[in-house]
Each structure stands twice: as structure tokens, then as C-alpha cells.
Symmetry: C2
Subunit: 333 residues, 2 copies
DNA sequence: CCAATATGCTTAAACGATTAACCAGATCGC
DNA sequence: GCGATCTGGTTAATCGTTTAAGCATATTGG
């Protein structure tokens, strides 16, 4: 019995049941006027033969593919996975699939990725912008998930506020002399995080900002000059700071506290585990998908960029400032 | 001047040029019989109005979407990004887009993800299987990128060989007493890696296998019993081993060598930088996409699973075994 | 009891690209 | 000079779904 005919479309179901394709379509979509009995008949038959509507056919007629594009500057960036997971889950809830594209770190790549996605028929695009590059005019709705300091921003994690709570947490622990570590002074995200830290420290504590694209500061030296807390813009930098410090005999957190950013998986794998600032990717994803969904259906266009606060996770790499004077030089031999 | 009419399709171009849509299609695709002059006319006009073929229209007619699905067990798994990047780049070269789906770590999730992708009209699917689960019968070609020990495997990184070269590198450095560290004894990938290590060590060196889902072994204790080298199944485990050892005053690599796996970004962020085993994701991606592409076009179906060798990167976390007896107890104060 | 409305379904026309089939005019072989 | 072939197109059908419009039959209001 050749029970599984290859072609399972509305036409086949219609023919088998002796009704028209329009009725099949209406019955399955719950539109038009179809009797309850026919609806039951059609749906059960569809279920039975394993029918599902052709994405291409539907897309052609409706002009919607139910697919969103996601453009990331660099997939291997450690922040990407959590974000992608959030977006994928949220999109899935709303009936959207996610088509990914890597902009390969350049503005040209970003534009070409966006064009490609449009040509593939996506209904909307979420862009994690590279260097705050201005979006080209596009024929589909586009959400830019950037940072507060980016003018093109649509929805963003509040990196400035993240920097602030990082600094405040260590102020609360008694620290008054900070080293602020970044590794890419061109990155708006990093600039915003550092800015937040500086805002919170200004007038209350001493601090020094250090951009370390290649050369890493001598932490023992810094500690001798009084630094007891290091605020970094990423868990990777925090990891480097912690391991470098411990290797040089500087105990973390007893002698020096280190704060990371992003809560990467490594944060709990390393000892001491890293205190860190974590973006609310779930909420971010929700707003991004909701924004696009609204824009696609031309319901409402939210005009102003919205910010999602970050939260803090205190683990082992941060602690109260040592009770003895932080300026004391320690065991000179 | 309303130069940019919204609708840019073949019909519009045909009308404007006074020719038929068939000729437009033929001219653009280089099929059929069209004079050189008309081809130039059509292509330049298409260029001018920014025409590109509708993905839905083409997909409907040709039955191909030029989109591949990618099912991953867990996007936040740190191995994913590099793999996704390779697949995306390779797919892009072949004219395919990548639709991602997260199987949320369960077999049910995996099956539902596959079904979803099929319903979205993908031409083929790449699956990173969860726990070596058997694939459902699918209506589209499916490539399983698993591990040598998986029976459903299509193309895989040779995790067994990876374990072997990890072990041999440390044997070459003089080590003869090993600790093998895994954290998920149900994972076929981890089992294969450990198996490779054991194969290389068997009869040559002493070793102990330790699965650490939660409790981590006391490395100082192990070192006292003679262990000088730790082989792990992941960079995260290696990171934990290194930092735990250094915290306990056990110098790496002077007193203990640690080998990671996968070459995650953290491998170069931590001090000492991690020696690690790195899969050739580029080659893997190439073979996977090539396999699917062939299967889609019903050209050739490669029958036997193929394996891609891994390579080793030696950094700071591994070194020659200490010249003094490894069994010596060290500075008991 | 008849017009108005509701119900349940069918017909047919899209959506945009592809492609088999056809056709007029030019060219060619012999 | 005439059938055969080639050239450069056109016509029309098709992919699978959606949806406006149409058309019976049944139901209701007054």
C-alpha cells in the first residue's frame, strides 16, 4: 500500500474529501465560513497524512516569510550565544525562525549581510551593530540592539548603568582606589561601561582608566600604589587580571578585588569564581522581537530607544577591602 | 519623481522594456535563447531599479529555498560559536543561508526542531546531536555532525585522535603519571576524548580517570601521589584545574601540566595560557555543507562517515616534567 | 409568504518566478 | 527554391496558498 504519497498539499486533501481547496484552506486557518463538521474532517485528515502548509506558497501569497534575520558582528564573540539563545527562544514563541548572518566585523560586511537577508525574504532584521555604523535604508523593519551611547540604537542593555552598579558594589565593600580596564577604546559598548563606572566613582574614589589592547598593566605595581579594586569591561579581561594577579602572589579577593562583565560560562569555571555584571538577555530579546513584530504588522512604531537594566552577580572575586591600610607595602621579600 | 516604485519584479521590468517576463527570467538566469543585446538591456535595467528575485516565488517554483537548518543542542555551549561561524561561512559560499534552532538539550526538542525546520522549507539540515539520539526519518537530507563513537554519525571531528595527540604531547614532555578529567560521563564526545587519551597512555604511563560532575579532585593531593599532568576534555575544565592548582600553590606548568580542549577564547586570556586541542571547524563545515549539497542535488551520497583530525596548540600550561623526582613532597613549610 | 440575511461552500484570481511548448522569421544545405 | 534548422523571442501552465467574490440553500423577520 503506497500510503505515503509524496505530495501532501491542500489540493490532494481537497480531492480526497471531495471538497474545494479554498474550503481546506479556510478550515485549517479558521477563516471564512466553514461548518464545524467539515473543519473537524479536514483537520483530522490533515493530521493523518502529515500535512503542513508550504512555507514558499504561503510566503508568496502573504508576502511574509515569518523569518527574522540576525546580524552579529562576530559569532565567536562570547556574548553572542546567550543573546542568540534569547532571541531564538523569543522568536520561536512568536512563530518566527531566525536566519543568522555574520558581518565579519566590517561595516561593508554588515551592509552586505543585511542585503542578503532581505533578498532571502526575511520579515525583519535584528542587528548587533559593528562600531555603531549607521544603518542603510532598508525595505524591512530593522532593530538595532546597541548601547546607550549609540545614536542608531533601538533597544539596548544599559551598559552605562551596568558600569555604575559594578562600581557601586565595590564602593560598598569599602574600596576607594580603582583601576578601570578596557581593551578596545573604539568600542562604544566598552566606552559606555567605563563611563558608567567613572560616573559612580567621580568625587568619591580615586581611579585610573587603562586601555590594554596588548600591554597588560603590572597589577602588583598598581596595588603598591594603593589600588584594591579592578573593574573590567569583560569576563575575559577579568579572568586575565585574576590569573595574572594570583600568579604574582596577589591574592584575590583578599588583596585585590576583580569585577567582570557578561557572566560568561567561564565565570563559574575559574577559581576564584568571577563577580560579574549580567545583561538581561531575556528581556532584551523580548523587546527586540516585540518591536519588530509590531513594525512588521504596522501596528505601532515605538519611537524612543528603550534601555534594559543590567544586574550584578557577586561571587568570589570581589570582597571587602583589607582592614589594614591599603597603602601598606606588603612583604618586601 | 516617484522613481522608486515599491514593486520590483520581472513583470514590471518586462512591461517597461516591452518584452515578456519569460525573456526577463531567461536573460537574468542565462537560460533559454536570448540575444546578447537583450541580456545586457535586461541586466542593466534590473541593476538600475535594484531588482532581485523573490525568494518565495523562486522557492515555490523550484522547490528549493537555498536555506539549510542548523540544530544545536545548546547555543550557549562554548563550542557552538566557532562551529556556527564555519558553517555559516561555508554555506554562504555555496549560496545557502543558515536557519538556527536550539534543541534545548532534549531529544524531543531535537525532533521538534527538525520538524520545524522542515516546515520552514529548508533544503537540508545539519544536526549536532544530543546524546547520539537516532534521527527521525526526515523528508530532507540530514547530516549528523557527531563523534566517532556515534553510530548515526555523518561527519565528525576525530575526538579519539584528539585525545591521543593530547596524551602523546605530554608523554613527549616526559610525563608518566596522568589524571584524566571529564565532567559528563554520558557525553559521547567526552567519552571518545578520554578513550583516545587512554589508548595513547596504555602500557606506557600510569593514569587515573576522574569524572567530576560536581566534586573536583584535590590536585595537591594527586600531585603528592605522583601526578604531573592533567588531561581534560574541555578548556573550561582545564581553566578550573589551572586556577585551582595555582591557588593551592601548585605552579603550572612547572609542577603540573594541564591540557585543555577546543581552544575557546578564554584559552589565551588566562595566565598561564592554555595548551589545547583544536578541531578543524573549517574543514568540518566544508564537508558537512558539501555532503548536504550533494544529497540535495541527488548527485552522490557519500556513504561512510568521515573523520576530521584535530590538531594541538602548545601554550604555557604544559611543560616538561620537573627534573627532580616528581614524587618528592615539596616545601612542607 | 416574501424579502432580507445567514450559512456553507465553490470559483477564480492572484502572489513571482520558472520552463516546456510553440511560433515567426532568418539562414542554410543541396 | 524549398524543406530543415537555427535564432530570438512569446504564450501559457505551473508551483501551493490565500482570499475576494459569487452562488445556492436555509433561516429569519415582519
Amino acid at each position: 500500500m503506497k500510503n505515503q504519497k509524496q505530495i501532501k498539499n491542500q489540493k490532494q486533501i481537497a480531492r480526497e474529501l471531495g471538497i474545494s481547496v479554498a474550503t481546506v484552506s479556510n478550515a485549517l486557518r479558521g477563516k471564512g465560513r466553514v461548518s464545524a463538521s467539515v473543519i473537524k474532517l479536514v483537520t483530522s485528515r490533515a493530521e493523518q497524512v502529515g500535512y503542513f502548509p508550504s512555507a514558499a506558497g504561503r510566503a508568496l501569497k502573504t508576502g511574509r516569510s515569518n523569518i527574522l534575520g540576525l546580524v552579529v558582528p562576530d559569532i565567536t564573540n562570547a556574548v553572542f550565544p546567550k543573546f542568540a539563545q534569547g532571541v531564538e527562544a523569543e522568536a520561536d514563541k512568536c512563530g518566527y525562525g531566525i536566519l543568522i548572518a555574520d558581518s565579519r566585523g566590517t561595516q561593508a560586511g554588515q551592509n552586505s549581510a543585511i542585503r542578503q537577508l532581505i533578498q532571502r525574504g526575511v520579515d525583519g532584521i535584528i542587528v548587533l551593530p559593528q562600531r555603531c555604523t549607521a544603518p542603510e535604508v532598508t525595505s524591512v523593519p530593522c532593530a538595532f540592539a546597541s548601547t546607550p551611547g549609540d545614536i542608531n540604537n533601538t533597544v539596548a542593555a544599559n551598559h552605562i548603568q551596568g558600569g555604575q552598579i559594578a562600581a557601586r558594589a565595590l564602593l560598598d565593600l569599602g574600596h576607594r582606589n580603582f583601576l578601570l580596564l578596557g581593551n578596545d577604546s573604539e568600542s562604544q559598548v566598552q566606552k559606555d561601561r567605563i563611563q558608567g563606572m567613572m560616573e559612580a566613582l567621580e568625587g568619591i574614589a580615586q581611579f585610573e582608566v587603562c586601555w590594554t589592547p596588548d600591554v597588560f598593566p603590572d597589577l602588583v605595581e598598581k596595588n603598591k600604589t594603593g589600588v584594591t579594586a579592578i573593574l573590567t569591561v569583560s569576563d575575559l579581561l577579568a579572568l586575565r587580571a585574576v590569573t595574572q594577579a594570583e600568579r604574582a602572589g596577589l591574592k584575590c579577593p583578599q588583596e585585590i578585588s576583580v569585577m567582570g562583565f557578561d557572566d560568561l560560562p567561564l565565570a563559574t569555571a575559574v577559581r576564584p569564581t568571577l563577580s560579574t555584571i549580567v545583561p538581561n538577555t531575556t528581556e532584551l530579546s523580548k523587546r527586540l522581537v516585540a518591536y519588530l513584530s509590531a513594525a512588521i504588522h504596522r501596528d505601532v512604531i515605538l519611537p524612543k530607544p528603550s534601555l534594559v537594566d543590567m544586574s550584578i552577580i557577586l561571587r568570589e572575586s570581589t570582597g571587602p577591602v583589607a582592614t589594614h591600610s591599603p597603602h601598606s607595602t606588603r612583604r618586601l621579600k
